[in-house]
């Protein structure tokens, strides 16, 4: 049985059906690629899964239905995500941006913060070590810059911090929304290495990755789902999907080849 599956997942914005009866799923430890032209509903699919937009249909995660839950409850169940346009808190430190990812695991609350300082600080220290560990998987310099504001980092490091924030939640399913958006080709190669590291370090983690860059998709995911106009139009290995008539048409029909120069 798959870790995560949707059945007939649908999102409507007024007259527009952004996600149209989508059945998709991912196994434990699998990386699923999600492709499709601009505006085909990929981000909306993530938003529906994470509870940010209302949806109809079924989402089953670890054997239990998700719909109706608030985003923070869904995170608590074990789904973490990144965003297409970075959503880091630029004024906060690198560490703080990763630590917030551990929110659902934190035990100390207001009482400990105010009156049981030693207990809280030992938890914070341990969390900082975890954060440092995650950051060092990608770039050891990030640890030394842990108390710098994230806004001072270059684009690729910001993306890494955002991925670390999602990983810090110890999710079972990680949703990556176009991690290579806004990166140079060299940075994209580095990012792919980073994703490979995640794969090795967390073999049980399931990942769904949205990408316009077919090079990235081919490199990190074995199975691919293609969207067009909110519908799933193809599913299979990268090679199968790339050969699919409808997929080729969807991309070519909009004036951009499968090499996917189109980026949001």
């Amino acid at each position: 049985m798959s870790l995560f599956a949707t059945r007939g997942l649908t999102v409507r914005f007024g007259g527009l059906t952004a996600v149209d009866h989508v059945d998709a799923g991912v196994e434990e430890g699998e990386t699923l690629g999600l492709i499709g032209p601009n505006g085909s509903g990929k981000t909306t699919f993530f938003n529906a899964v994470t509870g940010l937009v209302p949806a109809t249909g079924e989402v089953v995660f670890r054997g239990a239905p998700l719909p109706g839950l608030e985003p923070h409850q869904i995170c608590r169940r074990g789904i973490a995500r990144t965003f297409q346009a970075s959503r880091l808190c630029l004024g906060l430190s690198v560490f703080d941006n990763v630590l917030i990812g551990m929110h659902t695991h934190v035990r100390c609350g207001l009482l400990e913060a105010l009156f049981r300082r030693a207990r809280m600080l030992s938890e914070v220290r341990q969390a900082l070590k975890q954060a440092a560990h995650l950051l060092s998987l990608f770039n050891a310099d990030l640890v030394d810059r842990g108390f710098d504001p994230v806004g001072a980092l270059p684009q690729i490091d910001r993306r890494r911090v955002e991925i670390c924030r999602a990983l810090a939640a110890q999710p079972r399913l990680l949703l990556l929304d176009e991690p290579s958006a806004g990166m140079s080709p060299e940075e994209t190669v580095e990012l792919m290495k980073d994703l490979q590291i995640v794969r090795e370090e967390m073999p049980g983690l399931s990942i769904i990755i949205i990408e316009h860059d077919m090079f990235v998709i081919e490199g990190v995911s074995r199975r691919v789902v293609a969207f067009n106009y909110g519908r799933k139009i193809a599913e299979g290995t990268f090679a199968e999907v790339a050969r699919n008539e409808e997929v080729r048409e969807a991309y070519l029909g909009r004036g951009s080849g499968t090499e996917g120069s189109a980026r949001a």
């Binding site: 995170c75 808190c89 917030i100 600080l121 220290r125 070590k129 939640a169």
Partner: protein, 395 residues
């Protein structure tokens, strides 16, 4: 360490001189001296760097020095009950500022009804003591709780409302509060509530002049010391709150609500938490004010004071705990010193806010990154051996 104390003592002497100087020449000279010193510090990076480093490395000594000077202040101001009173007001505003800062600075929850929440604390004390005969200390303890609970009740219906609607609701609440106080019978209408009994500590009434070390201080010194304790306590709590998971969570939902939600933060719960803590502090200051002056009336808590409170936080620096202290200690005494400014007080505050937003949007003393009071460099957390552990704090 001696250097830190010397700087503090020098500033203290100048400030006291500026406050007490009678003749315009003397006032001008001391103010000019302070101005030149600050300017020199700001324009000479070396001097400023030295001061900043000294205060950072000897933080405990700096705090101890500041505490000693704050405790000594009434002795220097003893000839002037008026200035003792103004200093007390500054401390009350420190308390209020810390409360508003938890809401607006840390959590980004705009509250433009600070005066009304202070008024809730103050009126509660007045009503409970004068109308119902409660013991003053008990009423003083209940006042802030009422401010907190009313704030929460006001907030819950609009929990789901996003953006600046809450700001509008708080403005409306401030006006409604004032209109109600003006028109309700049991709150005394425009006259307010008079003869609020004063506090007693170990049999010593706060209205009798205290004698310390053989020196008799004005009776206002009682309130000064009490306000100092209150402001110090609230500032200490605010610092701990900021340097904790709670502070981090509030900051995150302030900066990006969606990122916070998707990290598992219950946004409404935490906004309510920040709003409640803030109103508790503000209500505490209001209750204190009521027992200090002995009466409450609607004009003491009108919208203008909400703006004063707002400017304290913005001037000092949103989300900056030392900034709030600095903001209150600058903004409250200043118009009192220059009486001609007093008429134009609100104008002054308005100008201060606009200038700050234009030229120094993060305030006079901007908030730094959160270090949780650990004092360790970032690299020290990257120690080898953590690789083996799993991800997550809960183990």
């Amino acid at each position: 360490m001696i250097g830190v104390w010397a700087v503090e003592l020098g500033l203290f002497v100048l400030v006291v001189a500026a406050l007490l100087a009678e003749r315009p020449i003397a006032v001008g000279l001391t103010v000019a001296a302070i101005g030149i010193l600050l300017l020199a510090a700001r324009t000479s990076p070396r001097l400023w760097g030295w001061v900043a480093t000294a205060f950072r490395t000897h933080r405990a000594a700096a705090l101890a020095g500041a505490a000693v000077l704050a405790l000594a202040l009434p002795f220097f101001l003893r000839a002037s009950p008026y200035w003792t009173f103004v200093a007390t007001m500054a401390l009350i505003y420190v308390t209020i500022g810390q409360g508003l800062n938890v809401q607006m600075g840390t959590a980004g929850v705009i509250n433009l009804a600070g005066a009304a929440f202070a008024g809730l604390g103050g009126y509660t004390v007045g009503l409970l003591t004068v109308r119902l005969g409660f013991a003053p200390w008990l009423a003083f303890a209940i006042g802030p709780l009422v401010a907190m609970v009313v704030g929460a009740l006001l907030f819950i219906p609009i929990l789901k409302v996003r953006g600046h609607y809450l700001a509008l609701v708080t403005i409306a609440f401030g006006f409604i509060f004032n209109i109600l106080m003006n028109n309700l019978e049991f709150t005394g209408g425009p006259q307010g509530i008079k003869n609020i009994p004063t506090l007693r500590l170990f049999g010593h009434a706060f209205t009798t002049a205290p004698t310390l070390f053989g020196v008799t201080l004005p009776s206002h010194a009682n309130f000064y010391y009490a306000a100092l304790a209150m402001a110090a306590l609230v500032t200490w709590l605010a610092w701990r709150l900021y340097n904790s998971w709670v502070g981090l969570t509030l900051n995150t939902l302030r900066d990006d609500e969606i990122a916070a939600k998707c990290s598992g933060v219950s946004v409404t719960r935490h906004k309510l938490l920040a709003f409640s803590i803030g109103n508790l502090f503000v209500g505490l200051a209001g209750a204190f004010y009521a027992v200090m002056v002995g009466f409450v009336s609607p004009p003491d808590f009108d919208f203008g004071y909400s703006l004063v409170m707002l400017s304290v936080v913005i001037l000092g620096g949103l989300d900056s705990i030392p900034g709030v202290v600095l903001g209150a200690c600058l903004l409250i005494p200043l118009p009192e010193r220059f009486r001609m400014l007093h008429e134009y007080r609100l104008l002054l505050y308005g100008a201060a806010i606009v200038l700050m937003l234009l030229f120094r949007p993060r305030g006079l003393w901007p908030a730094g990154v959160r270090r949780y009071g650990l004092g360790s460099p970032a690299g020290s957390f990257g120690a080898a051996g953590t690789r083996a552990e799993g991800v997550g704090v809960s183990r």
